[in-house]
Amino acid sequence: DQQVKQNSPSLSVQEGRISILNCDYTNSMFDYFLWYKKYPAEGPTFLISISSIKDKNEDGRFTVFLNKSAKHLSLHIVPSQPGDSAVYFCAASAWANFGNEKLTFGTGTRLTIIP
C-alpha cells in the first residue's frame, strides 16, 4: 500500500519558470511532511518541511503548500535554475502515532530544467 504517492515520474520546466511538484498521501496520521532532493550517487538532501498545523512554508525559492482536506502537498520552485535538475522525494512522518521517526517516501519525480 503506497501511502505517499508522486504520480508524475518526470517533469521538464524552462529555466526561470515555476516548477510545481505534487504529492498525495493516504494516511491521515501523518503530521509532518518533507521534501528531499537527490542527485545521482548522493544521499537525499533536505529542502523544506511543513507541519500539519500550517498550510504554507517558504524558504527562499522554495515554497511548500499543504492541503490537509485533500491530503495533498506541493513544492513550488521559483525561479527554476539548471542546478535544480534532480529527483525530488516527498516524505511524511507521524511520530506521535508510531513512536518513531519513520519517514514514508514517495517514488520520486525527476525534474529537468531546460536552459
Binding site: L34, G43, F46, K102, L103, F105, T107
Partner: protein, 114 residues
C-alpha cells in the same frame, strides 16, 4: 561541521554472505535511522535507533539487524544475502526528540549482491 558519514561507499558480495555497513551521525545527533533504496523507488525504512535502543523497525526480515554504540554511531548487518538485497543503503541522523524532526542523510552505501 561534518554531515552524516557512511562506509564503505560501495560493496560487492555474493549470495549467502554477510555484510556490515557503518554510519556516523552529525555531531550532537542521538538518533540514527536506516533506509533501503532500490532502483526506481523511494527509500524504505528499516530501523531507527535512539540512545542505543531500537525505536522502530520496518517490514524487513530478521536477516537485517542493527545496533547503536555509545558514541551514537551505528551498524547495519545483513545476513544470508540475497540478490534482492542489492540496493543503496542510507543512514539518516536527527536530534532524537521525536517532535517533527528533520532527518539528514548520508551519501549511502551501494551494495551489489552477485
Amino acid at each position: 561541521d561534518a554531515g552524516v558519514t557512511q562506509s564503505p561507499t560501495h560493496l560487492i558480495k555474493t549470495r549467502g554472505q554477510h555484510v556490515t555497513l557503518r554510519c556516523s551521525p552529525i555531531s550532537g545527533h542521538k538518533s540514527v535511522s536506516w533506509y533501503q533504496q532500490v532502483l526506481g523507488q523511494g527509500p524504505q525504512f528499516i530501523f531507527q535507533y535512539y540512545e542505543k535502543e531500537e525505536r522502530g523497525r520496518g517490514n524487513f526480515p530478521d536477516r537485517f539487524s542493527a545496533r547503536q554504540f555509545p558514541n551514537y554511531s551505528s551498524e547495519l548487518n545483513v545476513n544470508a544475502l540475497l540478490l534482492g538485497d542489492s540496493a543503496l543503503y542510507l543512514c539518516a541522523s536527527s536530534w532524537g526528540t521525536g517532535e517533527q524532526e528533520t532527518q539528514y542523510f548520508g551519501p549511502g552505501t551501494r551494495l551489489l549482491v552477485l
